[in-house]
């Protein structure tokens, strides 16, 4: 029907041009996603996917359960689909093309299931179908009961082979889909989006696709890259990291939400993308152990904090075997600190940089003169790396009752510094 005629019938018609490339991309990405349900996935362009599911039935708990999971997943991804199952690929496609979603289990039942279908389920050219209609062949059953040699003469051997494959009389090997080694998908938004939070909806779809794909690969990732395309500005790239290799869509979505909340968009977004490479093997079973679950939750807290605050804002501590106080510690990855034991009395608080103290007739002052403890600790060290120090350390108390860790330089101006607090 021409557009003008359609408009005449429906005045508020919204006409979109068909994007064949986008359809092909979507079919590919669905194939990658479907790989989690079967290792034998084939593309049947332009509109169908074939999954060999017999071997998956035990794993997923039977046909109904498997179908339910596939259907729920597709709904989450935002696709409308029709599914059917049959002993041969062509029969499954044919059944799925019709309104009824059948499950034909045995080759013996195939003929009966196919017979009532219209000829249009065969993807043969229209002129041929019209010719068949002309001779009174309306349904597949009519065609299939015609004598074989007559059909070969009228339609050619290719069509007969097609029908043989449909009925499983001839093998019908399919080219197996090979999932790509990396995940890279993008999605055009229906309009320009200026709110970072509103991007989550579109990205959720991509993350579900990614996690299905990872499931099929038996793998997880530690890093995702989210890409946001703008009309004029360069691509905005966001990196989402997790401590433990994961394919948990929920976890990625929580992190992404935190990340998007912090994002200030300079320009509206027209397209979103998701990219993941460097897959790491991930065994589904091990995640369910109790210890692993607890560890996963701990890591989850780190990931959440890091997603919002930045990874440098969340750290652990190490104690280093080193005489110079400022080098006797450093930040480390949480959970992996070194724990060198130092026998001396040390304050619980350290100043990032020692602060020089005012003096009064040679006495160090901090809110008045400080009282020094008798014993002192001399630290002279570091001549080998040029950062050498020579200091006398004291515990000092202020008039208001705070206790400080202070030192006096042994060389030069012999200045006093505050380096810590005995909190």
């Amino acid at each position: 029907m021409p557009v003008a005629a359609a408009r005449a019938l429906a005045h508020d018609l919204n006409v979109c041009s068909r994007n064949l490339q986008a359809e092909a991309d979507a079919l590919h990405s669905l194939a990658a996603w479907a790989y989690q349900f079967s290792s034998q996935v084939s593309l049947y362009p332009p509109f169908a996917l074939l999954l060999e599911v017999r071997r998956s039935l035990t794993l997923f708990g039977g046909y109904t359960a498997l179908l339910g999971r596939i259907r729920a997943g597709l709904r989450e991804l935002g696709y409308q689909t029709r599914m059917a199952a049959a002993p041969t690929p062509l029969a499954a496609v044919g059944l799925a093309c019709c309104e009824s979603e059948q499950h034909v289990e045995t080759p013996a039942a195939l003929l009966g299931a196919l017979a009532p279908l219209p000829l249009s389920v065969l993807d043969w050219e229209q002129s041929l179908l019209d010719r068949l209609h002309g001779v009174g062949v309306q349904r597949l059953g009519d065609l299939l009961c015609l004598p074989r040699d007559g059909l070969a003469r009228r339609l050619g051997p290719d069509r007969v082979l097609y029908l043989d494959r449909l009925l499983g009389r001839q093998p019908d090997p399919q080219a197996l889909y090979q999932p790509p080694p990396r995940f890279e998908r993008s999605l055009q938004l229906p309009g320009e989006v200026a709110q970072a939070g509103a991007l989550l909806f579109a990205l959720q779809r991509l993350i579900l696709e990614l996690c299905g794909w990872l499931q099929g690969q038996g793998a997880g990732v530690q890093e995702l890259e989210v890409r946001l395309w703008h009309r004029e500005q360069a691509i905005t790239r966001l990196s989402i990291g997790v401590q433990r290799n994961s394919r948990d869509a929920e976890q990625f979505l929580i992190l992404l939400r935190e990340r998007l909340q912090r994002l200030e968009l300079q320009q509206p977004v027209i397209e979103v993308g998701l990219c993941a490479e460097r897959l790491l093997p991930l065994d589904g079973q091990s995640l369910e152990l109790f210890d692993a679950a607890r560890e996963a939750r701990q890591v989850d807290l780190l990931d959440r904090l890091r997603a919002r605050l930045g990874s440098e804002a969340v750290r652990g501590l190490s104690a280093i075997a080193e005489h110079r106080p400022e080098y006797a510690w450093r930040y480390s990855e949480p959970g992996q600190g070194e724990q060198a034991v130092n026998g001396q009395q040390r304050p619980l608080w350290l100043l990032p940089v020692p602060r020089q103290l005012r003096t009064d007739h040679g006495w160090p002052c901090l809110q008045g003169r400080l009282k020094l403890q008798h014993s002192r600790e001399r630290i002279e060290s570091g001549w080998w790396d040029g950062q050498d120090i020579a200091r006398d350390y004291f515990i000092a108390e202020s008039a208001s009752g705070s206790r400080y860790w202070i030192y006096r330089e042994l060389d030069g101006e012999r200045r006093w510094f505050l380096q810590g607090l005995f909190e």
Binding site: Q298, Q344, W349, H374, I395, S400, S402, F422
Partner: protein, 229 residues
């Protein structure tokens, strides 16, 4: 709701007796434990530590409990500490550094968010924070988060806030005393009335000799450090 269900609630107490059911972690100071409900720092609750200034021993008061908690598989989370927690001193006090988590949020609001997330996650045994806001709603959220995550939440706050109401389950006020002394007054506790100051010795950790000071004079509230803001 009948009276029995009301009395079962954790946040309801009856005057005249310390509730014995409260879950607590021994503070390591026997005198203090006798006045704390359950015999220690309350689990799944906020403890507010009010102090006039830094450097009087507030952390030393917590260190024995933190050392014990660090044997647990959970984090001890420090959110926006005013100085660097000095690793050699923590090791000297027996704290397992592999359980220490430091969080340095940029903004004040991020700080409260981080405290709440950590408390609620169930993966932190203790969360230490130095909030500078006086926001009762935020504190209430933190108290609920501590309950949800079964964490010990410690908030260090300026002593001047002692008069302000607070949803914290336990509020104590510290004053410095000569030497390693610390006076601890209980302003609020579950299952008991406020109680006057008790005097504790909080040692400096390390294997060196005990600290001896010169004769000592002044105590009492000094001015805040600049870091309190």
């Amino acid at each position: 709701m009948n009276l029995d269900t009301v009395l079962q609630r954790a946040d309801v107490w009856r005057g005249g007796r310390l509730s014995a059911t409260a879950d607590a972690v021994a503070s390591g100071f026997a005198e203090l434990d006798t006045v704390l409900p359950g015999g220690g720092w309350p689990r799944g609750a906020l403890t507010e530590i009010l102090m006039p200034q830094h450097g009087i021993g507030a952390l030393r008061l917590l260190v024995p409990a933190l050392a014990r908690l660090s044997r647990d598989e959970r984090w001890i989370c420090w959110v926006a500490p005013p100085y660097i927690p000095y690793a050699p001193a923590l090791v000297g006090a027996g704290i397992d550094l592999s359980r220490v988590l430091l969080v340095h949020p940029g903004a004040q609001q991020d700080g409260l968010w981080a405290v709440e997330q950590s408390l609620r996650s169930g993966t932190c045994s203790a969360v230490l924070a130095w909030p500078t806001l006086d926001d009762r709603t935020a504190l209430r959220r933190l108290q609920l988060a501590a309950e949800a995550g079964d964490a010990l939440g410690f908030l260090f706050r300026p002593g001047r806030l002692a008069q302000r109401p607070s949803p914290a389950a336990l509020r104590i006020q510290l004053q410095p005393e000569p030497g390693n002394g610390l006076s601890v007054a209980i302003l609020k506790r579950r299952g008991g009335w406020a109680c006057g100051p008790i005097h504790l010795e909080v040692p400096v950790y390390g294997y060196g000799s005990a600290v001896a000071l010169h004769s000592h004079t002044a105590t009492g509230a000094g001015s805040f450090h600049a870091q309190w803001q």
